[in-house]
Symmetry: C3
Subunit: 285 residues, 3 copies
């Protein structure tokens, strides 16, 4: 039995304020000492499967060959399945709950080719514990690194029967496009589910409405080309349109959080000073 993989890229909603993640990494070390763990993030909001799936999808193009370990698992201990999904001819295996968390990453990696449910107690620490990261997913990931065959971890499951990921699609409404905030990053930038091509008709300035806030955003290529308080739209590191300000939080400025609707459209009279973007907010009573 050789050492098959030497990297586990680990994402969870378990935080780092207690020992949960540290203990899962200790379990990996104990089983497969040759493995390097890359912490993708453990800061996914508790129970937020969608946010976790989006973060994994953004990360996966950059992750090394090996195991992707994703644990956002509010259904731990119930009948939800724990799975491992092989992708890219065995170059990688994604390990986690079958609740949609892994689905977008699997699709980006070319789709699942083989999958099993993690039920073989020989490769788990415990079957029904509350911290499935420690008891089920970490030991299974480590076993794969040691060269254990996917098929030894449990019964095969049809990859077409795995729970799909749900990524919201924007919709066209006349000249306007209605999307939503996929992600507010650490700086307050608001990634939308809208690509650059979808606003190609709108020109260099776009009207942005989010809740009761109405603003004009300029298409820019860098944060610091914006004046103080001005809203910009740029294509972020994942290729999506993102609402930004220079050195300030766009999420605070626009009053939005992940999941909120945002509409982009041509300039209208609703925003009376399209030349500036710093002060116009219309708040209907």
């Amino acid at each position: 039995m050789g050492r098959r993989y030497d990297v586990i890229s680990f994402l969870s909603d378990a935080g780092t304020t207690d020992e949960s993640v540290g203990v899962a990494k200790a379990v990996i070390r104990e089983i497969a000492p040759h493995v390097t763990v890359i912490d993708v993030t453990h800061g996914i909001a508790p129970f937020d499967v969608r946010a976790g799936s989006l973060a994994l999808a953004r990360a996966v193009p950059y992750l090394p060959s090996g195991i992707v370990l994703g644990v956002v698992d509010p259904g731990a201990g119930t009948s939800r399945r724990a799975v491992a999904i092989e992708v890219a001819g065995g170059e990688g295996v994604m390990v986690g709950p079958d609740n949609g968390l892994l689905a977008p990453a699997v699709r980006l990696a070319g789709g699942g080719e083989r999958a099993v449910v993690l039920t073989n107690p020989e490769h788990l620490l415990a079957v029904g514990g509350t911290w499935s990261g420690r008891d089920i997913f970490a030991p299974a990931a480590a076993a794969l690194c040691n060269g254990v065959d996917l098929g030894d971890l449990g019964a095969a499951v049809d990859v077409d029967e795995l729970v799909p990921g749900l990524v919201p699609l924007p919709r066209q409404e006349g000249e306007r496009i209605v999307g939503e905030v996929l992600w507010v990053d650490h700086y307050g930038n608001c990634q939308l589910n809208i690509g650059e091509a979808e606003i190609a008709e709108l020109g260099e300035r776009v009207e942005v409405s989010a809740g009761e806030v109405l603003r004009v955003a300029a298409l820019v290529e860098a944060f610091d080309t914006l004046g103080p308080g001005a809203v910009g739209l740029l294509v972020d590191g994942s290729g999506m349109l993102t609402l930004v300000l220079a050195r300030r939080s766009a999420a605070e400025e626009l009053g939005v959080v992940a999941g909120d609707a945002v509409t982009l459209g041509p300039l209208t009279d609703g925003v009376r000073t399209p030349g500036t973007t710093s002060s116009v907010q219309l708040r209907p009573r």
Copy 2:
């Protein structure tokens, strides 16, 4: 002088918002480049020796052989002793301040067999600094990994004279058991100092009182078997009873923090709808 240990499991209250922990790890790297550091957590509340000792005790059954480095050290620079305690025939050494932080972990590892005070300046960066993690404990831990004998770090100290850990015990009051919240985890689950056996007589539903909140909790095996808003009691990953909700924070719902008293007892008239657990809260004026 061989390489004796290759893992340091590191817990502290130093956080990761500044460079303190990074610098301690740089010190370890400089002295013992072959060592892997596992961050158990650095999110222990500042100065909270008890919380640190409980987290270490929960983690220690999963940690690899090697060094356990624990730094929650409000007495840094005073006469409190810095110690290293050998356990399990030398399979592990616990390094940290002698303030009770390490005591429960030492006991779980079978008890201290040999201990020294860390006073040999040859293996320290500085003797009386304010960040003892960097100046005293990290270099001592790294020296042990390099094969330095425990006895070379300083004078022997009787293991029976080390400061003990204080873990609160629950007490019986008639049919009721009065315990306390040991730990609120990242999800808001509230671990109690009460084991399952201690409520064996109470049946499948238990009355929970915490401050002015009175609720019924069902014994469950998984979070998601609870209805929305319902309180459950499950045996957590450490074997202790834990108050939980499905996909919500039990600590918020019950208004408790670590250290608060919680009483478990048989159902009484105080909770008038024992069949449901979602709405009954009695708040005396």
Copy 3:
């Protein structure tokens, strides 16, 4: 092409609540698998170049030979230069934006000897992305670890033309010295830009004024030698005077944040009970 460096010490303001830092570390792993990344901290406040430069300067005396990767880069994507600066005869290279972030660390390491702008696309993932940590700085750092020569990363730049760091100097006002809070650490200790020698004339007790708060601070060597609520001044792990309390936050007690002015002087009648430090606060109306 040999393996030239095997450690990258990484500091940023990118936080760990999303995948940004994890992805940058994945990029390093992909390019230079032999490298260990030491996370100095990713908790620098967003966009706070000064705070990042101070944390790097505090850390750099403890960092191993190799690469220092610093990414606090509000000007990402603009004409600000991305640079690599060789120090100490090639023992180390500091990589980051040319905005002053690296300057104090470079000076502490003996000054820059050679520098280049990071423009060679062969060693970058992308030229103008928004997350320059991933696209520019991490790949350049990894390339250096693999033995790529500094000169291969881009055109040489005069080290004397790099943006300097700005560390505020205290000023004398009669018997008093006016400084500022450089850093509030995780425990609330307030590091000043004042050294011990600068208050040598003031004796063992010093009057501290910060905003409207006036207190007496005793010079101490350890937190726990202070009584409850008493303010102390100690020489911290970086050799600077630091305002502290025992097991409490001095920043909260004094109502200060990083950048606030603090004056140290001889005792005056303004503080009427110099023997105690626990209760005197004069707040003008």
